[in-house]
Structures are given as structure tokens and as C-alpha cells.
Amino acid sequence: MVIDQKKMQSLSDRMVEAEVKGRSPWADARRRFFRNRAAMLGLTILVLVTLFALFGGALAQWSNEELDFSVMGRVAELGAPSLANGHYFGTDNLGRDLYARTVQGTQISLMVGIVGAAIAVIVGTLYGATAGYVGGRTDQIMMRAVDILMSIPYMFVLILLLVMFGRSMSMLFLGIGLISWLDMSRIVRGQTLSLKNREFVEAARATGVSSFRIIIRHIVPNLLGVVAVYATLLVPLMILTESFISFLGLGVQEPLTSWGALISEGAGTMNYGTLWQLAFPLFFFVITLFGFFFVGDGLRDALDPKER
């Protein structure tokens, strides 16, 4: 009888190991996430787009503010994408390099998405956790306020804010952040309600930890899974919001630009046969949204196995 050396080796290895290592829920989730093909595709896209935003500028042969006078006025014939004159994505209607503009727009759109989501996460988590943990009348008043704010058509109010207080980047962040935490706070409150009667919270309270510290040290870390999933899904929504406002011409101002503004410019000029001005920003916009949605869905599936 021939004994398969390899199998024996693996058996002995197995016997040497003291016991089967338990898998933590996080490791389990990570395994499920990495097995999800759509999520991995989304992650790859996001990494590539981020690299493009960070280092794409180094490849540009023109700056985003420079006008190429040789194509000016004849953009439809001469401004098309070409490697020869260094305009990889062509030029926009004023003769600016669209590649450099797209890099800049990608940076700003991603930044708005991430900062907006970050504000929403911080404010929403603290608000929701406080309301849920304190409970009683405070909770009722706080959540009633959220209900009222949610029934307001926020895009109109946001534009109102932007027009009245000036269309600066910080105002845009503030405005987007102000409205985006509402859903977050509801989700977090629900989760907190189910956490606050657990033993570890009770133990903390019994040893005299203050409410604020309990929220920060014990409640919030346990909300991380829900918050992470929701934050990933929030980033594309923030990008959509900003693009919407910029599409209307009420968002970021020149010389800054964003995907929404670029799409708007491209859509305005496609009549003249300069389709690349629409195609390149639109491509980046669409694949990034896809990426975020796939990763968000994948994270949710990975962290919540019973949903599958």
C-alpha cells in the first residue's frame, strides 16, 4: 500500500495543531466579502479611480487652466482626443485640456462624496446613539425633529443656502452634511436601542462610567458594521447630490470643477459633435457609482449573512 506522503503530512499538521481556530465574525465577513465577485470588481474600480484622482495629474501634459490656443475656436475639428498633442481626452469648449479637467473633477467629486459622508457619519452616529441611549422624552423630541427635517425637500433648501451664503466649497460641504445625517441617525438609533440593555453596557453603568463615555466607548464601536455599510452607500449619494447641483450650475465655481459640472458642459455642447466632452466625465461618474454600489452591497451581504 502506497501511503500518500502529502496527505499524511497534512494529517500530522492537523494533529499537532491544538484545536481548530475559531473564526471571528469579522474574519468570516472578510472572507465572504472577498469571495463576492461584484464587490471585488467594485473595489478594483474604486482603487483605480482613486489612483487616477491622486496621480492622474502627473501624466497630464497641460494644466487644467491653460487654454490651448491652437485648437481654440475649432474645437470640434482639432480638439478631439489624441495622443499627439497631449490632449488624451480632447479639450473642452474653451480649449482647456479635458484630461486635466477630468482629473480635477474626479478629485473634487470624490472629496465632496467622502467629506459629506464623513460629516453624515459623525453627526448621525452621535445624534442617533444619544437619542437611542438616553431614551424617553429626549429621544422622542430628537426623533420628531428628524421626522420634521426629513419631510423638507432638502435639495431646494440646500440651493437656497448656497445662493444666500455664497457658493463656496465649505458651504457646499456644510449644506450637504447638514441634510445627509438624518437617515444615518435613524438607523443608528434603532441599533442603539437594541444594544443598550446588553450586559456590557449594564456593567459599564454599574462601575460608574458616565453616559457620554458609554456612548463613545461601548455603543459606538458596536455600531461600526451598520455604519460602515451605510457610509459606503452614502458616498455615491453625496456625489449624486453634488453633481446634481453642479449640473444646474449652482455648485462648485470655476476654475474648480466636478463631474456634474463637466457632464453639464459636455451635455451642452454635444450638439456640435464634441461628444468626448460628455463621454469622459460621464464614464468616470458612472463607473465610480457602480463601484460604490457594488462595494456597499457586498459589505452588507458580508456582514449580514442571513440576508442572502
Partner: protein, 307 residues
Amino acid sequence: MFGYVLRRLAVAIPTLLLLIVFSFILMSLAPGGPFTGERALPPAVLANLEAQYGLNEPLWRQIWNYVWNIVVHFDFGPSFVYPDRSVNELIAAGFPVTLTYGALSFLVAVVLGVSLGIVAAIWHNSWLDYLAVGVSIGAQVLPNFVMAPLLVLVFTLWYRLLPGGGWSFNDPSFWIMPVIALSTSYMASIARITRSSMLEVLGSNHIRTARAKGMPEHRVILRHALKPAMLPVISYLGPVFVSMITGSVVIDIYFSTGGIGKAFVDSALNRDYAVMMGVTILVGALTILFNLLVDVLYAWIDPKIRY
């Protein structure tokens, strides 16, 4: 039921008043009034103008007048930039257009989305299901401001089938592209929600019982599965309504349909606060009213809700 509606109204009306007061205070806080232009006006002229629009009175008095005029006379006051036009006229001119294509889009999104979701759930894991899921994932990343240029590109510039903009109440060919552009992404979301809730309901015990007693499949679906499966969809209708009203701004701008969105963006660019506030408040009122309707509908369908 009647009591429930009354109680909900009791919350809705203060909310609306709060919105009015909030936007009014915002306006008064904003740096630079409506009359600060590139050239500074002589103080006497400015005082006269402010007196004419009632801006010289104390803030609480201004708010009181504003709210009073809206509630009692349904009068949103004059436009600050075009003295011969009132906010009411601007809204009255645009609102029927917005309402027409908005209602159509809403209908299209709900009917198509729900049907798509149900079909996908019934033939789960068939090619129909994959098609529906594919369509809804694809449409998710095509918001109205992306759909609008793409539609114009294909149907106006390439195939020359439809007019690229403008509006006519008599010619439905003007309506097609606004409706498609506005409804696509919401149709996709509704289809996704319907599909997953229908799948959940179809796996539940009462459906198994209905099948076990030999009920024909179409009756199982129409009588027993549809109603509970619709609950998540109904609670999603409120947000859809809000986003569609918001999206109508893009439609009005891109297709030059002349709805209230146009008035809103024009006034935003002109800093015509009176018009902006008028539109915001009107939209807010519609939203609150619609949410109320949705809640009542929900309570009516879901027997578990006690009111």
C-alpha cells in the same frame, strides 16, 4: 382612521409653518439684501424700496405678514427682481407643466417598477429575473441629469424622432423624454424593492398554505402575496415623490419645459429670494401633503398598524 388623519395633520401643519419661518429667517440672515447690486443705491431710494416690500419692519412682523398672506390669501408676495410679476404668477405659469410630466413619470415609475419586480420575483433565477436585476442595477447609476443628455443624443441628434426640448400640452411627443429621464432611476429602485419584498412574501407560511389548499397560482399572487409585498414599496413612495420634484428642476432646465424648476433656478441665479422661497414652500407643502397620503395609505393596507 379619521382621528389618525387628524393627528397626522396636527403634525404636518406646524412642520410647514416651521419651514416658512426657517426659510424667512435664513433670508434675513443672508449677507446682502435683494437690492444690493454692483452699484450702491442712494440711501433714500433703498429706504423707499425696503418700505415698499415691507423690509423695514421688525423681523417678527415681516414673518407674520408673510405667513398671514400665504395662509389667508395664498399670496407669496411680489418678485424682488421683476417688480411687475408676482411669485404667484410665476408659479401658476410653471406648475401645470411640472404636474403633468411629474404625475406621468410617477405613474410610469410605479407601474413599470412594480410589474418588473413582481415578474422577477415570480420567475426567480430565470432569465427574466436576471434581466430585471440587470436593468435595475444599470438604471441606478443613470440619474435624471445623465439620462436627459443621453436621451437627447439618441432620439434627437441621432434618430431625429423626438423634439429635443420645449413643451406643448397637446403634443405628447414633447412629454416622452422628460418622463423617461425623470422616471428611470426610480423605476429601478421600485423594481428592486418590489422584487426583494415579493421574494420574502412568497417564501412565507401563508403562501405555502394557500398553495397547499390548491389555489391557482395567479390567485395566490394577486390575493395573498401582492398586498403584504406592497408595504415596503408604499413607504418608499414618499422619498420618490421628493426626488422627482427635485429632479423636475433638471428636466425643466435641460428640456426647457418651462415648469417651476426653471423659475427656481432663474431666481437662484438672480438672487430673487422671494421666488426661491415661494417655490421651496410650495414644494414643501406638497411633500408634506404627499407623505400624509402615503402614511394613510400604509395604515389602511397594513392591519398591524393601529391608529
